[in-house]
C-alpha cells in the first residue's frame, strides 16, 4: 500500500506488446514514470507513441506484457480480470474524448450509476457536492446527454469519474471534441479539481496549450518517454 510518502503511481520497465493480424506491435518499450499524489501530469506525443496504451494499462483495461505498474502500492501486472475490474471500480476514474455517457440515463443517473456499481449510497456526499458545484452542472442533472452541449457532457463525465474518490483520474483527450471555449472551461475545471480537491490527474493530449494546465508534461514517442519533459520523471 502507498504509505503517503511515495509516488501514487510507480511504473518501471513497462512493456506492452500486442498482435495486430499477424504482426506483433511493441506499443510500450520500457517506460519508467512516477506520479506523486495530487499531481496533474500531462502526457503528450504523436499518434502511435504509446500514450493511450499507457492510459489503458493504468486504468486496468488491459494487462501489461512485462514490467511493474503500481497504484497506491498495488501491482497491476499480476492482477486477474476480476482484480482489474475492482481497480476500475475503486482506484481509477476515466474521462474519455467521446464522453461515453449512457444515453438513456440522465446526467444525475450517469453519475449515480458509478456510485451504484461501487456499491455505495446514491446520496451525493459533501466532497462530490463541492465537485458538482465546481463543475457547474448541479442544475443540469435531470437532463439526458442528448440535451446537453459537448462541454456539459464532458463535465458530467468528469463528475462521474470522480464521484467515487478515485486515487487517479485518467483523462484521455478530454477536450478533443470541444471548441476552444469549452476546452478552456474543462481544463480549468480539471485544474480546479486538482488544486482544491487534491485529485491526482493524468491527462493525455495532443495540444501543448492543454498540456500546460498540468504541473508537468511527459513526452512520449515510439513507446518510450523521451527527453524534453517538464519536471522529474522518477523521484
Amino acid at each position: 500500500m502507498n504509505n503517503g510518502d511515495g509516488p501514487i503511481i510507480r511504473i518501471r520497465a513497462l512493456r506492452k506488446r500486442y498482435r495486430v493480424g499477424e504482426v506483433d506491435v511493441e506499443a510500450l518499450r520500457g517506460v519508467d514514470l512516477d506520479v506523486q499524489a495530487g499531481e496533474f501530469v500531462s502526457i503528450v506525443g504523436p499518434s502511435g507513441s504509446g500514450k493511450s496504451t499507457l492510459f489503458h494499462i493504468l486504468g486496468g483495461l488491459t494487462p501489461p506484457t512485462s514490467g511493474t505498474v503500481a497504484i497506491e502500492g498495488i501491482d497491476l501486472a499480476s492482477m486477474t480480470e476480476a482484480g482489474r475490474t475492482e481497480l476500475r471500480r475503486t482506484k481509477v476514474g476515466f474521462v474519455f474524448q467521446k464522453y461515453n455517457l449512457l444515453p438513456t440515463l440522465t446526467a444525475g443517473d450517469n453519475i449515480a450509476i458509478a456510485l451504484h456499481i461501487a456499491g455505495k449510497s446514491l446520496e451525493i456526499d459533501t466532497w462530490s457536492q463541492e465537485a458538482l458545484r465546481l463543475l457547474g452542472i448541479d442544475h443540469r442533472l435531470d437532463h439526458k446527454p442528448r440535451a446537453m452541449s459537448g462541454g456539459e457532457q464532458q463535465r458530467v463525465a468528469i463528475a462521474r469519474a470522480i464521484v467515487n474518490h478515485p486515487a487517479i483520474l485518467l483523462a484521455d483527450e478530454p477536450t478533443g471534441n470541444l471548441d476552444s471555449k469549452n476546452s478552456d472551461a474543462v481544463l480549468s475545471l480539471l485544474r480546479d479539481l486538482n488544486e482544491r480537491l487534491k485529485q491526482t490527474i493524468l491527462m493525455i493530449t495532443h495540444n501543448p496549450e492543454a498540456a500546460a494546465y498540468g504541473h508537468r508534461t511527459v513526452h512520449m514517442r515510439d513507446g518510450r518517454i523521451v527527453e524534453g519533459e517538464t519536471g522529474p520523471l522518477v523521484s
Binding site: T90, F96, L102
Partner: protein, 337 residues
C-alpha cells in the same frame, strides 16, 4: 399467438358444448360409428324416434337431420314443435318461427356477420330463403330448418343424424340408458346422458386436437424464443459501447448480466401483458369476421403459462448474448461504433 390459438380451439369446443346443452335433452343417441364432433348427414332411420318415444320414462323424443350450407356452416333440421317443447323454444331477437316452405331461421351470430335481419333474403343451395326469425345462439346449429326440408335437401328422406330424449325425471337417466344399451337392437348405437355427452367436448377428448395444440404451442415457443433471442442479441450488439462504459466504470460481469436479465424480464412481462390484451382484440376479430363456426374465448388459465413461456424464452435468449457481452474486452467494447 398461443392465447389466440388455444382460445379458438377451446372456443369452438365450448360453443359446441353450449349448443348441445341448449337442446334440453336428457339423453343423446348418435348413429353407430359416428365421431364426436361430426355433424354428419342423416344416418339413422327416422322411425327410431317413435321407438324411443315408447320407452319407459321418455316424455319427448325427437331428432335432428344435419346438413351443410358450406364449409363449416352446419344446418340442423328439426321438428320445430317437439324441439321447442324439449328445449324451451328458441328465443327470438327478431321475427319468429318458420311458417312457410321458404322460411329459414338463423342465430344472432350468423345474422350479425352477414348483416341479416328478419324478412331479409338468404341464398343457400341456389335457393332464395326468407329469414323468418333471428334467434339467440345456443341451440344446435346456427341455421335451422324444418326436418323434412333438410332431409329433402340432403336426399335423405326418412333419415336423421341424432336423437334426443327428454325424460320424466332426469334422475332416471342412467336407468333408461342401461335399459337401452341392454336392447340387442340398439347394439353399436352410442347412447349418452347429456352430462356424458357434453363432457366429451374437451380438448383432451377430441382426437388430434390436443396434438395440434401441442404442435402450435411448440412452434409458438420456438418462434418466440428465436424472436427474443435475436432481438436481445441485436440489442446487446447495439449496446456494446454502453457495456464497455459499464466495464470501464468497474461493473462486474454479474452486475452487467443482472441489468440485461432484469431488462429482459420487464420486457417479457410487458410483452405478456400486451399479448393478453391483444387476445381481446383477436377475440373480437375472430368472432366478428372469421365466420360463424369459429369462436374464440379468453383462456385466463393460460395467462400464467404464456407469461412463463415468455419469461423463460426471453431469459434463455438473453443468457447467450449476455454471456458474450460480459466476456467482451472492455477496450474493444469502448471502441465499438
Amino acid at each position: 399467438m398461443i392465447l389466440t390459438l388455444v382460445g379458438v380451439s377451446r372456443g369452438m369446443v365450448e360453443e359446441s358444448k353450449k349448443r348441445a346443452s341448449g337442446v334440453g335433452a336428457d339423453i343423446w343417441v348418435r348413429p353407430p360409428n359416428s365421431s364426436l364432433l361430426s355433424f354428419s348427414s342423416a344416418a339413422m332411420s327416422e322411425k327410431l324416434i317413435d321407438f324411443f318415444a315408447q320407452q319407459p320414462h321418455v316424455v319427448i323424443a325427437t331428432g335432428s337431420a344435419n346438413y351443410s350450407a358450406g364449409v363449416m356452416e352446419p344446418v340442423s333440421g328439426v321438428d320445430l314443435e317437439k324441439f321447442a317443447r324439449m328445449s324451451g323454444g328458441f328465443r327470438f331477437l327478431e321475427g319468429g318461427t318458420i311458417r312457410n316452405p321458404d322460411d329459414i331461421m338463423v342465430d344472432d351470430r350468423f345474422a350479425a356477420q352477414r348483416n341479416l335481419h328478419a324478412g331479409d333474403k338468404l341464398t343457400l343451395w341456389n335457393r332464395s330463403w326468407n329469414i323468418s326469425g333471428i334467434f339467440e345462439a345456443g341451440k344446435l346449429a346456427r341455421i335451422i330448418l324444418p326436418m323434412a326440408v333438410v332431409q329433402e335437401l340432403s336426399g335423405a328422406t326418412g333419415r336423421i343424424s341424432q336423437i334426443f330424449l327428454k325424460l320424466d325425471d332426469p334422475k332416471n337417466t342412467q336407468g333408461v340408458i342401461a335399459a337401452l344399451k341392454a336392447n340387442p337392437a340398439l347394439q353399436g348405437y352410442p347412447i349418452y346422458s347429456v352430462e356424458e355427452w357434453t363432457s366429451l367436448f374437451s380438448v383432451n377428448r377430441i382426437t388430434g386436437l390436443r396434438a395440434f395444440i401441442g404442435v402450435v404451442i411448440t412452434l409458438a415457443v420456438v418462434v418466440g424464443f428465436l424472436v427474443v433471442f435475436l432481438s436481445m442479441y441485436t440489442a446487446v450488439l447495439e449496446r456494446t459501447r454502453e457495456i464497455g462504459i459499464l466495464k470501464a466504470l468497474g461493473a462486474t460481469p454479474g452486475y452487467i448480466l443482472g441489468i440485461l436479465l432484469r431488462e429482459t424480464a420487464v420486457l417479457a412481462a410487458g410483452g405478456a401483458l400486451l399479448g393478453i390484451g391483444l387476445t381481446f382484440g383477436t377475440r373480437w376479430m375472430v368472432n366478428t369476421f372469421a365466420g360463424p363456426s369459429l369462436t374464440q374465448t379468453i383462456v385466463m388459465d393460460w395467462w400464467p403459462i404464456t407469461t412463463g413461456i415468455a419469461l423463460a424464452g426471453s431469459v434463455l435468449g438473453t443468457l447467450y448474448p449476455g454471456w458474450k457481452a460480459i466476456r467482451q474486452d472492455a477496450l474493444e467494447a469502448l471502441q465499438y461504433e
